[in-house]
Symmetry: C2
Subunit: 318 residues, 2 copies
């Protein structure tokens, strides 16, 4: 199997579609690089871009895109509801296949060094790439935003990891780092009982005594209530555990779990871990021969997945 | 309901039963204090004492016992397999009923102040009572043991929380603090497949991506293998979750869960949390009218408890 990385750069432009088109242009028609998502948000005035592929090819293409964003976006004239500190605000690298967290940390550092050198952009390493504990969480770095960063970056404790201790006059600063793949997962419960669902969400999330890599809460819709969650690291807390734990806690309230849905992209490995449990396999070895269709079928059946299609699997795009 | 605290002082004498008798004498026949366990271990040369009751009464009785141990035990002549730094080695206070963690922290500080003053014993506050992060874990404090403590206590970072920075010449030092009630719980699995049980234990423990307050591993016996665990805080991770999660993970291996056992004492509240789940109750309100017998019956049935008797419930002794 080949190495695959996912990169989800966030650019501080969500309105001017021509400008966005020029920023993402370097991510198109590149050997080993697949652009799988461009999601501009007008209110946020921000665009989330998703690209996957061969690590070096993805890194190089993303560096090019950062270069364009640095020229195109002037934060002195930027307004939007989402907090931001840079024209390219944050660049997470996510290991998908045949890569360790350490490999992706290394890739993020290469990207950071190059970006600082070529575009005169100060870079903070964040998340798993952070070199200091207070740089692990993006909001801590971003506090003060573009407008406050000119002063903040001069403080000894906010010396950037790469580049000068001086913001880029129009493009600010950027956070680059490796983070583990995060699965956005929602479980449908046939009830109007929001208190019960809040109780169940609390039971399964870490802060309530639940699973290590689950953040969860209730979400109310017309027809049902969901336990909505992020599985922050499916390699530690497999997604089937979230589903089974919700069913277990729901028994207490006599609430039926009717299905679930995965939001956004999911790596094949995440589906393999789920399928292995329901097929009573000790590990995922025998699943290597499964096609994406077969894997999707098993997982859809057992988790009662709604709206799942092959293009939600990262490897489908490779 | 009345306030109840549990205290489990560990004394560094496990052989001389007369001496042990003199140490625990102040814990007997005291209004509001019930001595529920004295467990000397010859190999460890250490005795674990369990006492419960009204917080001030328990504190005062335990202070008296520490006074006797300080006179009776000379660590310069102590040998045993268990690590130790004091004649009274560690004194945990555990909130059982109508007490918060904060209440028990306060009680432990009162005990510490009194012990330091009356017996000239340096005291380190540990666990939830710790005043510094490196004093939270007992092994960190105890490192170097009695023999090394004379030097260690002179270091600025090991200045004791109460008392002089000088060990008691025969009784050393003592750690006093509040810790949450810990439930030692084992689940029986009808299998010889140690790999499967190791996998299951890893799945449910925090370090493997499992539940926040579960530490677990496999334990092999002649007839079966157990998932053996500590539930470090049952108020966050209720014990029924451990049982149900093991059953859920065991399905993958087609392993039958045949029962379980609670080792040592358990607070009534822990049983109420379990019973409420299996009786499909939203909270434990209606269980307040249950007798200990009724509670024990429900929990024994649903967890398949082996060897459970009323005297394992702390409140039975009150």
């Amino acid at each position: 199997m080949q190495k695959i990385v996912q990169c989800v750069p966030n650019f501080s432009e969500g309105k001017d579609l021509d400008k966005i088109e020029r920023i993402v242009a370097p991510l198109k028609n590149k050997e080993g690089v697949k652009l799988v998502g461009v999601e501009p948000d007008e209110t946020y005035n921000r665009t989330v871009v998703t690209v996957i592929g061969e690590p070096q090819a993805v890194k190089n293409a993303v560096i090019e895109a950062i270069g364009v964003a640095t020229q195109e976006i002037d934060l002195n004239h930027h307004k939007g509801e989402h907090k931001r500190m840079g024209a390219t605000d944050v660049v997470p690298f996510i290991p998908i296949a045949e890569m360790s967290i350490e490999d992706a940390v290394e890739l993020s550092k290469e990207c950071a060094a190059e970006v600082a050198k070529r575009f005169d952009l100060p870079v903070f390493l964040y998340s798993h790439s952070a070199q200091q504990p207070n740089r692990e969480k993006l909001p801590t770095i971003r506090k003060g935003e573009f407008e406050g960063m000119g002063e903040k970056i001069k403080l000894p404790e906010w010396k950037p990891d790469y580049g000068k201790a001086e913001i880029h006059p129009t493009a600010g600063v950027v956070a680059i780092g490796c983070r583990p793949p995060l699965i956005a997962y929602n479980i449908d419960c046939a009830t109007k009982d929001i208190d019960a669902i809040s109780f169940i969400a609390k039971s399964i999330r870490l802060s309530g005594g639940g699973y290590k890599c689950i953040q969860a809460g209730p979400a109310e819709y017309d027809e049902f209530i969901q336990v909505t969650m992020n599985v922050t690291d499916y390699t530690q807390t497999a997604v089937y555990r979230a589903f089974e734990a919700v069913k277990m806690e729901a028994k207490r309230f006599n609430i039926e779990v009717t299905g679930s849905e995965i939001i956004g992209l999911v790596p094949r490995k995440c589906l393999e871990d789920i399928a292995a449990y329901y097929l009573c396999l000790r590990n995922t070895d025998t699943l290597q021969s499964y096609t994406l269709e077969q894997l999707a079928e098993v997982v859809t059946e057992h988790l009662g997945l709604r709206g799942f299609s092959l293009d939600k699997i990262i490897e489908y795009h490779i």
